[in-house]
């Protein structure tokens, strides 16, 4: 229950952050969402236990979700770094890290598309 609520809290805050316009906040949001995803994988694997080392007598935790989560963490890590690089580039281009709107969509929305279709 405590863990589920943690997932919920991380998901909500993460989702809130990624709907922001600042790429730094979006990166922050994805970090939180990544935590949520990893934690849910862990929860899905069943109850906790001792570290999954073979040969120990006591009940170990399920190693499979841990392996999956590890892969997921590393992949999210890579993508977060890439987002950081994008943010850096955006900063260089526009002086800020704000996500810009699509120009062409804006043009259509503002009705400037009534030109000839031929």
């Amino acid at each position: 229950m405590a863990l589920l609520l943690t997932v919920g809290g991380l998901t909500s805050t993460g989702l809130y952050l990624i709907t922001a316009r600042s790429l730094s906040r979006i990166i922050l949001g994805f970090s939180l969402l990544g935590h949520a995803a990893v934690l849910s994988l862990l929860i899905a694997g069943g109850p906790p236990g001792t570290a999954p080392i073979a040969g120990k007598a006591s009940e170990t935790s399920n190693p499979v979700p841990q392996a999956l989560a590890l892969t997921a963490i590393v992949i999210s890590f890579g993508l977060t770094l890439f987002l950081l690089a994008l943010a850096g580039r955006q900063q260089l281009l526009s002086g800020d890290d704000l996500v810009e709107d699509d120009l062409e969509d804006g043009r259509i929305a503002s009705g400037q598309n009534i030109e000839t279709d031929q």
Partner: protein, 753 residues
């Protein structure tokens, strides 16, 4: 043989295209070959009286898509029209474009492609073959209408024609699919009569297809526009053959819908409306080609009406008019084309007295015109007689309605014929003309003569028409074409029509030239196409904001909705408050830091909060029995926090804020998403359908994986492929970051230099 003839057309298309690039005439002459050969073949077929020719080519057997051709009497009649007139149109085109024409690969090739497509259509033995070639004719027609595409009006007309016939094609597709669903066959002759709601829907859809192709009101608007095509195209596609495809479809589908009331009422309504509105249109216009086009709408209306009535006599009359119309209307178009080329205008207000300067063309036009008006001694007269007899022979209300419509329609036909002939050829000073071109005059004369010969040697057309009519309705064998019926009711009515029509025609001509009416219908059709084009941006602006936060919010909301099914199982869920007393504490730290990180205003604060979450997670992993995860997490989190602070250090230190409504929306959606995920996870485990094989993994890992740390064994052995992918991902990210860094660097060097 049939496939061979079609293949000859295909080869001809390529040859005509290649030769046309050197010389227009050469391309046209080559293109005349396949239609000529087909005409000869059809004549032999007619004389030989051999059984129906049949060929089949499989395509997609599983869908019932095959090319199945057979030639029955109806198809043979159509073949003669398509290929016979086709051959003559190619010859005529050499004159129309003249010896100085610019080489052109497209015209002859497209026209021949059309010719072949039309043959495929009339030879089709299965509905899908018919449909496939039906669509071909729409496309080739588009290309031909747009021949002079430099002109914007031409492009608009081509688009209009394609869209109307294309939409009709889709209706036809839907209708045919319904019909095929109800039957087990796709062969045209084997369809059971349609019944029930499906029958009604199919009838309406197929009628829509036919009405768009055959330019019935209110879909007729594309036809006058199609006059933007070179005149040979107008003569061939848009009067003699392609526009007959809809009528042809109605003729062959007639038996299937014999019991479907809407087929008759809707068909007749469209037909009568077109007959009358087309006739009026032909009286109002002053461009000779438009007069002919509107006349075609009217005549097609008469044909649609007759095939909707569907009695043996009406079917017989329909076939007769189909034949007669192809001959006289093609002639008239060819003459109009010659006038256009030799005088430089098609405006009947500027034309006059051409009987002196263009006597041969005048002769052809008069013969064809009289045939159109239904005057003896011409084929058109006998056909019109049959039609009038057919409607007079009906009972009750039908008799009154159909007779009145056909009589009024015929009066209009006579009137616009008289107006045209008087204005162009009649008294008055002759319009100056350029030298004659025999290749233009000869085909017109030949076709006009055919109309006359058909009257004198009535046995030949009689056999063609009667065989075809019997094919469609066995009871039609009771009728034949009668050159001189004597003073019976129908004949008296005919005479009356001729007299009244002539008077109306003379009066209208005397009244002088009126300004050409606005093409309201066409404008409206273009407006609806433009309307679709205008709705598109409006709607698109509403779904395609171009703004990432909106997209993300939409997706989050949809994901929230997707968790709804889980709620149904929530009642079965049992949850322990915690596995371990340290959990609630860590949970509080993590969620608390996350919330703090969300609302903190400064970048450094956010980074600190992120670090706190990461540490909390690390501790949680340890408490869960996942030390490997904890280690990795610690490492990764450190790098990211450092990167976050350093990499974005140059950014301003506070986050921009957004407006409050949007904030509330975001919070709501994010809240729903979080709750949804929590509940989904809670209920997913409520009654698991399988359990992870933890014990087995342990055993196998030690035996075969040769390691004790199970997570490591899994990563390096059991799921090594995933790890490989993970490495690839990291490497690619590195490449991407390097590329961006290089671009940054190159730019700063550039600006420094």
């Amino acid at each position: 043989m049939l496939v061979g003839l079609l293949a000859a057309h295909l080869v001809g298309v390529v040859a005509a295209g290649l030769l046309g690039r050197r010389s227009m005439s050469a391309g046209l002459i080559v293109a005349a070959g396949p239609p000529f050969a087909t005409t000869v073949w059809a004549l032999f077929q007619l004389a030989g009286d051999s059984g129906p020719a049949l060929s089949e080519l499989q395509w997609v057997e599983g869908l019932g898509l095959s090319l199945r051709f057979s030639v029955d009497s109806v198809a043979l009649l159509m073949t003669l029209l398509v290929s016979g007139i086709g051959a003559m149109v190619f010859v005529y085109s050499t004159g129309y474009f003249g010896p100085t024409a610019k080489p052109d690969a497209r015209f002859a090739a497209s026209l021949l492609a059309f010719s072949g497509s039309m043959l495929g259509l009339v030879w089709a033995d299965s509905v899908w073959t018919l449909f496939i070639f039906w669509e071909f004719t729409s496309i080739t027609s588009f290309l031909l209408v747009g021949h002079k595409h430099i002109d914007e009006a031409v492009r608009t007309a081509a688009r209009r024609a394609l869209m109307i016939t294309g939409a009709g094609g889709l209706a036809l597709l839907a209708g045919l699919l319904l019909l095929v669903r109800e039957n087990t066959t796709t062969v045209l002759d084997e369809f059971e009569p349609a019944t029930g709601t499906v029958g009604v829907v199919a009838a309406v859809l197929i009628l829509l297809g036919a009405a768009t192709k055959s330019a019935q009101v209110p879909f007729h608007v594309w036809l006058p526009g199609a006059m933007a095509a070179p005149t040979p195209v107008s003569a061939y596609l848009h009067s003699a053959t392609m526009v007959k495809a809809g009528v042809f479809l109605m003729a062959v589908m007639g038996p299937v819908f014999a019991d479907t009331a809407i087929w008759k009422t809707l068909g007749a309504t469209l037909g009568i409306a077109s007959m009358l509105w087309g006739g009026i249109g032909a009286l109002r216009h002053r461009d000779a080609k438009l007069i002919m086009a509107w006349g075609t709408v009217s005549q097609l209306g008469l044909l649609v009406t007759l095939f909707s009535i569907g009695t043996p006599k009406a079917v017989f009359a329909g076939i007769a008019i189909l034949l007669a119309h192809a001959l006289f209307k093609a002639t008239l178009f060819l003459v109009v084309g010659e006038i256009d080329i030799r005088t430089g205008t098609r405006d009947i207000a500027k034309l006059g007295g051409l009987w002196r300067t263009m006597p041969l063309a005048c002769g052809a036009a008069v013969a064809a015109g009289l045939s159109m008006a239904g005057a003896p001694p011409l084929l058109g007269f006998m056909a019109k007689e049959a039609a009038i007899e057919a409607v007079l022979g009906l009972k009750g209300t039908e008799q009154v309605v159909f007779s009145a419509a056909v009589i009024v329609g015929s009066v209009l036909t006579v009137a616009y014929t008289v107006r045209f002939l008087l204005s162009v050829f009649g008294p008055g000073p002759a319009t100056p003309v350029k030298p004659s071109r025999p290749t233009m005059t000869a085909p017109a004369l030949l076709l006009a003569t055919a109309g006359l010969a058909g009257y004198i040697f009535v046995a030949a057309p009689n056999r063609l028409v009667s065989d075809a009519a019997v094919e469609l309705n066995a009871a039609a064998d009771a009728y034949k074409l009668i050159p001189w019926p004597g003073f019976k009711t129908a004949f008296v009515v005919s005479l009356g029509i001729l007299v009244i029509g002539s008077i109306v025609g003379v009066v209208v001509t005397r009244r002088g030239v009126q300004p050409a009416p606005n093409p309201i219908g066409a404008n409206r059709a273009d407006a609806s196409i433009d309307g679709v084009l205008a709705i598109a941006p409006w709607l698109t602006a509403r779904v395609q904001h171009g703004s990432l936060p909106v997209y993300v919010a939409t997706m989050t909301a949809v994901a929230g909705v997707a968790t709804l099914p889980f709620l149904a199982e929530l009642s079965n869920t049992q949850l322990d408050p915690w596995n371990n007393p340290v959990e609630p504490f860590l949970a509080a730290v993590i969620v608390g830091s996350a919330v703090a990180g969300t609302f903190v205003g400064s970048r450094l604060g956010a980074a600190l909060a992120l670090g706190a979450v990461g540490l909390g997670m690390t501790a949680l992993f340890v408490s869960y029995g996942a030390p490997d995860l904890a280690l990795t997490q610690l490492l990764v989190e450190t790098i990211i926090v450092v990167g976050f602070v350093l990499g974005l250090g140059r950014l301003r230190h506070s986050f921009p804020t957004s407006d409050n409504t949007w904030k509330t929306v975001r919070m709501t959606i994010a809240g729903i998403g979080g709750v949804g995920v929590t509940l989904a996870l809670a209920s997913a485990a409520s009654s698991p359908a399988g359990s992870p094989p933890v014990g087995e993994i342990t055993e196998q890992a030690v035996q075969e994986g040769g390691g004790k740390n199970l997570v490591n064994v899994i990563l390096t052995d059991l799921r090594a492929l995933d790890t490989l992918g993970e490495v690839v991902v990291l490497a690619t990210v590195a490449i991407g970051m390097l590329a961006l860094a290089r671009v940054n660097q190159a730019e700063s060097t550039e600006s420094a230099a």
